[in-house]
Point group: C2
Chain length 340, copies 2
């Protein structure tokens, strides 16, 4: 290796500038954690096209609606949806107020970490656990519960708070879109109130742009003090066809960009694709068993099968996580740029 | 009266400037269609307090949420809610596709302008009329229907399009709030999709900031073309307690300003008032039989009784339309400034 001092001696200021230049360029370029591959290029090409005022694909700022799934798209979802892990922890935390849970399924299974009994309880069991941990309290109390858990709980594999297991490349994409006057939304199967407990701080997405699964609520006035009670009745299941339904109900405009990672996002992508003018449809494909997880068609969590086929046949952007992301989580160091 | 020419001769340029100054000031002053009375003063005092960065009442821009009822607050609601008049006209327009309506109530009553039979059909009849005219079509088709009617229909009393029977002072208030980085929302008992058909153009309120009564929708895919069907099942009745419920569900933040005009707005006002920090609660009181309508405690439309008592006892702002508004509709000339 050449001694850098001798080089500096020989080329002086010119070399110093040449060394510094790539750093300066990088600071201004969008999506630094994305390799210079097909996914990054398709995002930038789309954004440039719809923001070019003299181009045929121009979209006025008010109509630059971008929707993102949350679980598996903006943060990880393994070994189980993080909200489900919250529900399990909440069962344990509140068990002293429910002595009957020590002998009643599916709560007994949660308290005893009995995975087999929990699996046997099935979706019905999961719904009971969600009901007991997500409803029956005021919206303010639930927000407190969620924020307390998020500030304390650690992921079983990484040991990191769940709110750090967010995808750095997607954060950069959200920032990039907002810098180009896009309005960024979450549209997710998760509970709206659970996601609002961290979305603004972590993603920069304010509560009014978080759309998810909801329960029927009831306004109540006690001793002159109003509050809003979360009842156990499901109001809207924001998965699959529920996503375009809630987009239409809450936003009232069709997005021009949609990003998901599983079959539960297919209808949202179809709805976005069916609009007139230029559109962007993207899927995060979990291909990175080393830095994150690798799963798709056979996974019980975040199953990606039909949507993968449709994305391939229609030319939607498929993000091969292992190949296209220089970094997965903000707490990791970036890998070297891989020019493809 | 002194001859103005002789004055000009005596004082020259100084006087010209003095005459022009009030006009310049007026152009920059907010709320020109409001008299310099208690309502205008309370609005300006509130806005100045929450936007003063060095003051104790400062609220950061992201939390400057302002919610407005629509019927009777932003536009008129007499002789009946305008959306009901739309529904009646839609029954007439679509009657050829429903020959059975000529012999079936409440449709027969609408087709024959039979007010007595219509009154006899009661709320059940009204719901049938809403079901027939507001559901069973795609969201895109309903939007077309509403926009077509709004562009053609005329109000029976003024002969003006309904979208011109909006309140000039409230338009100015919306503009003023937005100039101070407030986010303005509609929260109304009206159908969300009906209001979205004109809210952006008429009030400058985008579809994602229009919250109202909703029906359950269903995503459908026909020959590869997705659409969203409006079903006849009510999803949310956005009146009374439904208002704070929908505010919490759709916005996820408590407003710092709420404006209504009837008992259906009481819970929204209570919910707003119960937050910490400085708050503004306002009611439009319809006291102007000459320029608009005068009604309150006994009115079947826009009944204002309990909310009026609570506003008085809690010191909320009550806008006496006859006394405080220099102009009601944009198409009217303003009355002279009444200094009170």
């Amino acid at each position: 290796m050449t001694n850098p001092l001798s080089i500096r001696h020989r080329y002086g200021l010119t070399l110093l500038l040449a060394l510094a230049l790539p750093l300066l360029v990088q600071a201004n370029e969008p999506l630094p954690s994305w390799n210079d591959g097909p996914a990054k290029n398709s995002i930038i090409e789309f954004v440039q096209a719809v923001t070019d005022q003299s181009g045929k694909d121009f979209v006025k700022p008010a109509e630059r609606i971008a929707v993102f799934d949350n679980d598996g798209t903006l943060w990880s979802e393994q070994p189980a949806y993080f909200e489900l892990l919250f529900a399990f922890d909440e069962v344990k935390r509140t068990a002293p107020q429910h002595p009957e849970w020590t002998t009643t399924q599916p709560f007994k299974a949660v308290l005893e970490n009995d995975h087999k009994a929990l699996a046997a309880a099935g979706m019905d069991g999961i719904l009971k656990i969600f009901g007991a941990t997500h409803t029956g309290m005021t919206t303010a109390a639930f927000d407190d519960d969620a924020k307390t858990w998020l500030s304390q709980a650690k992921h079983p594999k990484t040991g990191k708070p769940y709110t750090e297991m967010i995808f750095q490349p997607m954060l950069e994409m959200l920032d990039y879109l907002r810098s180009q006057q896009f309005k960024t939304y979450i549209v997710s199967g998760g509970d709206t109130a659970f996601m609002r407990a961290f979305a603004e701080k972590v993603y920069g997405i304010p509560p009014e742009q978080v759309i998810g699964t909801t329960f029927v609520t009831a306004f109540q006035l006690k001793d002159g003090q109003p509050s809003i009670l979360r009842t156990a009745k499901l109001a809207h299941n924001d998965d699959g066809p529920g996503k375009p339904e809630s987009i239409d109900a809450a936003i009232g405009r069709r997005p021009i960009l949609a990003f998901g990672n599983s079959d539960g996002d297919l209808q949202m992508l179809q709805w976005t694709a069916a609009g007139t003018g230029k559109r962007f449809m993207g899927l995060v494909h979990h291909t990175d068993a080393k830095r994150e997880w690798a799963y798709d068609r056979q996974s019980p969590v975040g199953k990606l099968d039909k949507a993968l086929d449709e994305a391939k046949s229609r030319g939607w952007t498929i993000v091969d996580m292992a190949a296209e992301w220089r970094r997965v989580y903000p707490f990791e160091a970036a890998t070297a740029e891989q020019v493809q």
